[in-house]
Structure formats: C-alpha cells, structure tokens
Symmetry: D2
C-alpha cells in the first residue's frame, strides 16, 4: 500500500524536484497539491515538463482535506509559511516534512533574531526532528514533524561533524566557503538571476551574515559540547544545481589526512548516501543524486574538507524523500538510487 | 571636437552596450542620460560594471535640455516610446538614432497592424533613413532621423539581399530559421529567462508571427521589385549574446555556390563589417564585434545561407554607432574595430 | 529474474547514460563491461560519479564470455565497431541493441557510400529491426538484433512521419533544421568542443551532408511509398544534452493545424513516450527523459513541426532500454518513467 | 610612431586576447608572430574571429629577425619556454614582457622546486621587473624584461597587500579561496574541460599545492618584512573568463571595515585599474576589462577580502599591455579603457 503524499507550495523549484522523485518512487502516490494561489493551476501548465506525467490541479491549503487524502505533507515553503500550516496539519493527523526554516533552530530567540519574525508555534519546535539522517538518525523514524535541513548546513556539517566528533579539528576559527547553483535562489524573479546577468557571472553574497550560519553552528555544537566558532560565506555560480563547500579548519596536534579519512569512514560506514572520496569532489558527480561526496586534504597547517551535494536533492528534495522513507519504514534508499 | 551624445532609455541592455562603445569611441562624449524613472538613478548603480567609468545621473527626458547638451540622441527604447519623443527632439535640433520599431516600416498601416498601436508621428516616417549601411548607404549621412534596424532583419537580410539582387534565388518560399542570445529578450524579468529555466534550454518562439518578419520582407522587397514570400522562425539559446540565421532559399536555375559567393563578394566589397567566409559562421566569432559573417552552401536543391552577428552589437548598438559615424562624417569604423 | 546486460564500449557518453538507466531499472543487472582498452579500467575511475554505484572492471570483448553472463549486449560503439562484433555475439546467442550505424541503412551501397567503409556483415542487415518503436513496433519484440536509431532521425521522423502518412504534407522539399547538445559529439576531445570555445558559441556543421540525412530519408520513404526529398542541417548549441528539430514542410492543399494535430494524436495514441503539445517544445522539458515532444504550426504557406528529445536518452540510451524492454517482454516503460 | 610588437606563442588563448587588445591599441602595430609550429599557420585560420582583422602568418622564433621588426616581444608561453628565448631576445635588443613563470620567483631554488626544472637563465632573474604596476611601479618603466604575474597572484595580492602594509591583518594564517574561468586552463585539450564535463560542473583542484602559492607569498613578504603564511585553494567554474578570490585574514586588534577601506583607498589612489567597491564584486563586472575590483567585510572575527579580475585580462594580457605602456612611456591606460 502506497504512502499518500501531499505537497504544499507546489509551484516552486523544490516542489518540482520533489514531484520528479515521487513519480519515480515505487511506494508513493502524490494525492494532493495545495497552493495559496487563488486561481486553480494545473501543475503541468506551471511546469510544462510534467505534461502527461502529473497534471493535477492545485487545491486550497485545507488541512482537513489534506488529512483525508494524505499520510504525509511535504511543505515546500519559505519560513513563516511552515509554522502557519504545521499545527493544523499535525492536529489533523498528517505527518510533515517541512522544508522551511521554522522548526530547524531549537532556540526560539535565535530563530526570531535570524529570521526577523516572531515564532507562532514555538511549542512544536521541541517535537521536530532535524532531518539529517546521517548525523541524527534516531528521532526521524518516529517523528510527526521533520525539519528538513538547509542546503548549506547539510553540505557543510556532513563535512565537519566527523572531524569534530573525533576531536581532529578545533571547534574554533572554522571557515565554510561555499558555492551554490542558481536554483538555490528559488523560482521568484530577480535581476541578478536574469539569464544575461547570471550567465558568465560568479559572486559572493551575504558574506558572514547568511541565515544558514546559525543552523550550521547549532548542528556542530552537538559534536563539540561547546560553542563553535564559524564563518560562512556563500557564492553563486552559473549552474542550475549543485553545491560545493570548501571548508578550512584548524587541526588538533599531529593530525594526518589518514586520521581524517578514518574518521569519515567510521562516521559514514553503512550510510548509503555519503561517499568518502580519495579524489576531490565535483558538483558534476552528485547532481541529480542524493549523494554527498567528501574528501579531505592537509596543507599549510590547515585541514581542508571538500563536500559536494546537489542543493535541490540532498540539499532539499531527495533528503526530504529520504526522511519520508525513514518515517514510513521504507528502505532508506527507496526511490533514490 | 567631439560629438555630444545623449542616451534616452539608459537602463536597458542596448544602452549598456552603447555606453561601453561610446566610452571607447575616440570622437564622442556622453553628455546626457535621459530616463522616465522618477527617482534619480546613478547609472553606475544600475550597472555596477560602470563604477569609475561612467557615473552619470539620469535626468528627465527633456528635449530642450537634451538639445542644449547633445548633437545626437540614441533612443534605446521600445516601440511607442520612440515616436513619443522623436518629434520634439527633431524640432529641438537633435539628430536621432532610434532603436525602436516606430520608423522602420514605411507602411503605416502595416506598422499599426504589426505593433497593435496607432502611429502618432506618421509624418516623420518618410524622413527616416533605414540604418542598415551595407544595403542602404545613401540616406544615412544626411538623415536627421535614422531608424536603427531590428537584430533579426539585419542578420537575415544581409544574408539574402545580394542573392536576390543578382536573381540567384527566388523571392518566394524563403525560410529564415534563426537563433538569438537571451539579451535579445531585454532586461525586464520573465520566468522563461530566469537562469534556471533558460540554462540548458533551447526553444522556438513566435513561430511565423514575429514582428521582425514584416521588416525583413520590406527590406527584401527593395531587391526584388515584387512582394517577397518569407517565413521567419526565431529560437532562443542559452547565450548572453549572438545571433545566427540559417536561411533556406530556392535557387534560380543553374546556380552554383561560386555564383553566390561572387554575389556576396561584389555586394560587400569595401564594406568593412561584412565578412564573406569560406567556413561556416559561429556566433562566437562575431560576439563583441560589429561584424556580420556570411557563408553559403548548396545541397538538396536548396541554397543555404548562414549569417551571424552579435544581436547587441551589429544587431543594435554597434550598428547605431556605425550610423552615427556616417551621420557625423566620421570614419565608418571609428570606435568599432 | 533479471535480464543480464552487457555493455560493449562502456567508456563513452552513451554508455554512461545507459549505466545510469540500468542501475535504476527494476528488471536488469549489468553483468559485463567489454572494452577494447588494453589496461583494465574500473568504470568508476573513468566516470567518478559511479563511485559506490557501479565499480565494475572492464573486460575484453569476448563474445563467448559475454554470452555466458549476459542475455543482451548494448553496443555503445561507432560505425565499423558494430559490425565487427555483432556476428559473433549473435552466434553466441546474445541478443543485441546496436547503437552504431552499421545495421540501420537497409541499402548496403548507400551505407558504404555514406560511411566510406565496406560493410563486412551485410547478411545481417535484413535481420536487424530498426529500433524506433513508435513508428516500427512490429519487429522489435522478436528481433535478435536491433539497430538503435540515430538521434537526429529519431527526433525528425517522429515529427514528420504521421503527416506524411496522412498525406497532409508533400514528400518533397522538406527541411530539417536541428540543434543538438554537445554530448552528441561524443566524449573524444576536439578543439571546437573545448569549453572556452563551445561556451557562448552556436554554429551549424555538416550542412546538407550529415550522415543522418540518408537514415531519415529511409525512414520517411516507408510512409510515402516514394523517394522523399529532404535537406538536413544540424547545429550545435552550448547544452550538455537535448535536441530540437524545426521542420519546414510543404502542406497538401487545405491543410489546417487541426488536421496535423489530429494526425499526431492518431499516430501516437497509446504511445507513452510521444507527447503531442499545444505549446511549443523546449529541450528543457524533455532532458533526462525518454519523451519526444511535438507541436505543429502553419504560417506563410508552410507547415512547421517542432520536435524535441534528449539526444542522449530518446536519441540513444533510453530508446535502447525501451527496445530492450520490448525484446524481453517487459513493460515498455519499465525503468523509463 | 607606433610601438612594434612581436608575439611569441601566438596560438594560445593569452595571445588571442593580446591580439584583440593590440588591434584596438592606438599606439601599437603587431609586426611578427613567432611560433614553434613547423608548418606555417595563418593566425586567422587558427582563430577564425580574426578573419579580416589579423591574417598574419606565423614565422619561426628567430631573435634576430624579431629584433629587426619589433621593439617589444610578448612571450605568451609556458614555463621553460620563457627562459629558452629570453636571453637571445634581450641580447638582440628586444624588450620583453614574459607571461611565463620563469622570471617571477626571485629565489632560483624555489623556482626549481616549484616547477621541477632547472633554471637555465638564472642571471636574468635579478634584472626582471615583476609586472604588477599597482604594487611595484618603480622598476617597470626602465626594465628590459618584465615578468608578467600569474593570474591568481595578481588577484589575491591586490586584495591583501594594502592590509598587510598597514598592519591591519596578520601575515599568518591567510587563506585564499579562489575561482577561475576555464580559459585559465589554456587551450590544450583535456577531458575535464571538454564541454559536457565542464558545463554544470564546479570543482577544486591543486588544493594547497598550486604553483602560484609561492608567487603570492613572495609578493606578500615584501609587505610584511617576514615570511608570510598562506594557503591557496583554486577552483574552476563554468565561465569562459573571470576570477574571484575570497580571502580570509586574521585582523590585528581593533580593526574595522573603515580602516580596511581607508587602506585600500590610500594604496590605490591614482591607480586607474583598481576599483575599491562598497558592494561585493562580481566577475561579471570586470570581464573584458583591466580592472581589479576589491571589497572588504569583517565578520566572525575575520577580515574577508573579495577581489575580482578577468583572468585573461588583468590576469594576463591587459596587464601585459599595461606593462608595455609603462615601458614605452605611453599613457598607462592607452588601449585599455
């Protein structure tokens, strides 16, 4: 019997990638597309590639109706919209994978400071599992609500956490210098992402003040038992999808590349979606997959970690499916290999 | 003594390309940027590449003020805006190179039908020179008003006119299958030109009903003495700039490639900006230049012509500069090689 | 029980795309990679994206060994190599899907003239099914040898055949103006496909003399009962994958767009991989799928057909899988949706 | 009277960019193209964009012949080739701008260790001026031999030197995380730069062991009076040209962004080709120019500097022209604005 899935916010990119995945998933049916748009939209008109594959009409965001037809709701929505619909969906008995940032940060004040809004559902934060299965496998299977991680925190913390956990690097003076494809900026139009201005361009943005920096720090603090010190600088490259984090760390004494590789091999043994590589990663090798590729080098007194994912896949929708698989007792890899 | 140039509509792409050209032109000073925007805009904030190179503030579109400070006005504007400002500029004594379509079509009814608006300055159409110097050199030098041609008509007619002129091909059943870079769609935002939707995409549009089709026909009719029959189908490719027209023509009897090449060599002898090539053109070879590259092949009973330009240069701004050079008795190539 | 598949010529792009497909196919195991390379190659070193997914070592092209381990061999090889291995593979009892051109053209003399080599296995040409299931479904299921079609013939003939079949267009004076992504040129290096020379480039090649032109004609002749007259001009665009054919046809009398759409709907009813579209196709909408999208317009006395495929999928490897599905009594869509 | 320029190694990308610049330069004539190729090559066949613009035939690398026809030779060659031709050119009386690495490093042993070859002309190293005019203006005007800097050292040290000079940052624990366009890898073919493998790709390379790291260190040591400690990690992005360095530095006590900007403004006052920006740089804004754009931010206890150039222009050929202008008493900006 298939899992019945609803998608809230179906007209953005993360939803499109999710629909592609669910159409290929052997154990899932998409049953409900829920949108705030007033006019009814056939999703195949919004995304012409879906002609003949998924021609559902978007319906209102009605938790009771969703609960009638779906076991799980994927919320492909920005912050604020997550907490606007989560309580009613949970009350109606629908399990939720929330792409928004609303239940990721455990510290409400930090959330409110970072996102500049009041949190309207703080009570559910404690019940949300952080959906990064390679680092936090325990709570996801039984969670009613999974906070699907940010793309940058996924990429960066998979590259750092095993080294912190084994105390091979110091929890201070960490630098995450990362690059994303343009899909990470979403489907809404803006001048900087107009083709002629993004093509043949490369630029940093939000240097040192990106909202994913506190999320990374929260994850890493759980491996250090102390407050981590981290600087995160994102850049955008003319790619549709893909993400690479180049991470500069201070080694503990006497650390070798072999030590670091051993820590990765140990942390990711039995984890099907992290590939510890001898060669350096390339976003090309992970695009359209749920893999995170990691490699490490030591030079000039620094440990360098390179971690690559597809920002729309392991950074968003395939990770959401991985979480759903775990929540519904499916093979973790179902529909993802 | 330098030519003083005003630019009306300075915040679009054709203006940016024009500013780049005029900054390098040895005989021109940019003296006035005129915009409909209400707030004052420093053009270097609009286009950060201009920092330190051109930091003028946009001023109102005031014909008298423009006339005080400029000898020529480049109108980097869409249809309707051209005819809205041309009469007053001409009255004020400013010579005009108009990028809009408003003075290109000699037949007012055809213009009104094609663009879906009434023409408000039909009287000046007859006084406008069509600014394609390789085909119509005579009127430009003395014109007060030059209608700068469309990008597609420039590219296609430079490839067809010499063959029609020598009666090597028939004026019927002509097909122009062309491709443009995305800058041709302008700087205004739209979903189809958002980077993730244009990258790795290729598509036709306006098949058989593009507004440049009547303009092409008007040009070609002057070489046939009869009504030409033409189908024009544009496509867009993931390029910032560039244009290639692949043109399928019916040969007259006994026509050879040598005949066609001879016609091109004859038509473009002494024309510095058309290069008749033995090899096939590539938009790569003309981007950032004022060149039009043409080549011809015969196979399967058809004459094929390939013509390549940079849509923003020979298709817009460098052709505008070429026209200005001719209007102000400069070397035709000044600032363009 | 899974179909056991061998791949001959595993280090090219079509093989990489095939491996991706077969790894996801629920009913196939890859059992043998056969290469002419002298040193043993781990395919995951050749294609780093395959790390942890497919790390098989390439072995010699040994028909007996292949027959021991495989039910079907996909020949991802160029012309000449196909006929060099097909006879022994068939003799050994392996069914074959041959990507090379060697068994596509039924006329040996035409093959030899087109490819400039002698055919060394002409006897098997008659036994080869042409693997374009939407047009020629009958012979594939029982064939020992399927000639997988060229990418351009697949794209173009799916757009033309139904109109010829219903006599809505004339079999003369047909023009196929097409565009491919760069993967179509293969994995071997050449200056024109070096990134800095292909990026921001667009160009025609082999105008009127491409080897796929006779193959298209052969397909179309079967729908006209006479010799078709066709001109084919390919171009290359800066895309990894994708193909669009813009086809210019002479209508029979009184033909309407509705007639053409009716012919398409009729021809492709029940065909899961051709999508007859009201809007114009975009390669973006078919990339990474086995779909062919078609649309039609009439203007200026011409019927225009637009057909889009992924050149590496429906133009090569997903079509090969579709053929394999039919040969081995699987669902036609298995592993392809 | 024009400067007569020879180009040695004319068939690579840096030469193509140089030819473009020299053709537009008002005070230079290209008089000699010198190549090791045995057959005579018309440069317009090698680079089809030069048809009608520069159709010179390459001649042998004959110092006496070059001296007869040229005042300056640009050596667009890799390491080893520079020192193979420099002595004879200098002896023949030709002044040289050498793009190779052979005269950049002042320490012969470090050169030999870094490049893995013996230096065959160590005596001339001391006479070579390091051609980064904004940092080392004094020796260039009178030098017979200018070592044109590496692209990465140009970009990175323009971003770091003023801060070191004012002791605003520490000379230890510096990280340069940089990105280049693909032209930086040269025109020779390799699998990783084949279009389908570079398109939609992004990857690090030579992490911590790139040959430009010692060159950067040598430059910076001149501003610190001690041995600098630096880690350099390059990446390649799917751009034809452009380079961005994101630089992570340890601030001295109490340093503010204002202090850093003041240091930049002071260092680059009167330098026409460095633009100190308030907003963050984008390679888009410097491509096809000789500009270096720099900006600075402080966050999380780090000083971040962002520096952008065009790797083929300020990183190679326009910097070479800037050096030539200074050597021949031209305006520093001649042919470059």
């Amino acid at each position: 019997m298939s899992i019945r899935a609803a998608i809230v916010g179906p007209t953005g990119y993360t939803s499109l990638w999710l629909i592609r995945l669910l159409l290929k998933h052997p154990g899932v049916d998409i049953t409900y597309l829920a949108s705030r748009r007033e006019e009814e939209t056939n999703i195949a008109e919004e995304f012409p590639e879906l002609l003949g594959r998924c021609e559902m009409v978007c319906r209102p965001i009605d938790p009771a109706a969703i609960a009638d037809e779906a076991d799980v709701a994927f919320l492909c929505v920005p912050h604020r919209t997550g907490m606007a619909v989560v309580p009613d969906l949970l009350d109606a008995g629908v399990r939720v994978v929330d792409y928004s940032a609303d239940y990721r940060l455990k510290d409400v004040a930090l959330y409110e400071d970072t996102y500049g809004v009041d949190h309207t559902d703080a009570g559910n934060i404690a019940h949300a599992a952080y959906g990064l299965p390679e680092l936090f496998p325990d709570e996801i299977p039984t969670a009613k609500l999974v906070a699907n991680p940010g793309c940058y925190p996924t990429c960066a913390t998979l590259g750092i956490a095993p080294l912190l956990d084994k105390q091979l690097v110091k929890p201070t003076d960490m630098v995450v210098s990362a690059v994303t494809g343009v899909s990470g900026a979403g489907r809404s139009l803006s001048q900087g992402y107009h083709f002629p201005e993004m093509n043949e361009a490369f630029r940093p943005y939000a240097a040192g003040n990106h909202r994913h920096q506190p999320e990374m720090k929260q994850v890493l603090d759980q491996f250090t038992g102390q407050s981590s010190e981290l600087l995160f600088v994102p850049h955008v490259a003319p790619l549709t999808a893909g993400m690479l984090a180049t991470i500069y760390l201070q080694p503990a004494d006497q650390v070798t590349e072999e030590d670091c590789y051993a820590a990765f091999e140990d942390a990711y043994a039995g984890k099907p979606f992290v590939r510890v590589r001898a060669d350096l990663p390339d976003v090309k090798h992970v695009v359209n997959t749920n893999y995170c590729d990691v490699a490490v080098r030591i030079a000039a007194g620094k440990v360098m970690v390179f971690a690559a994912i597809d920002n729309m896949m392991k950074g968003a929708s395939s990770q959401a499916v991985q979480n759903m698989n775990l929540m519904f007792d499916q093979e973790e890899t179902a529909g993802l290999l």
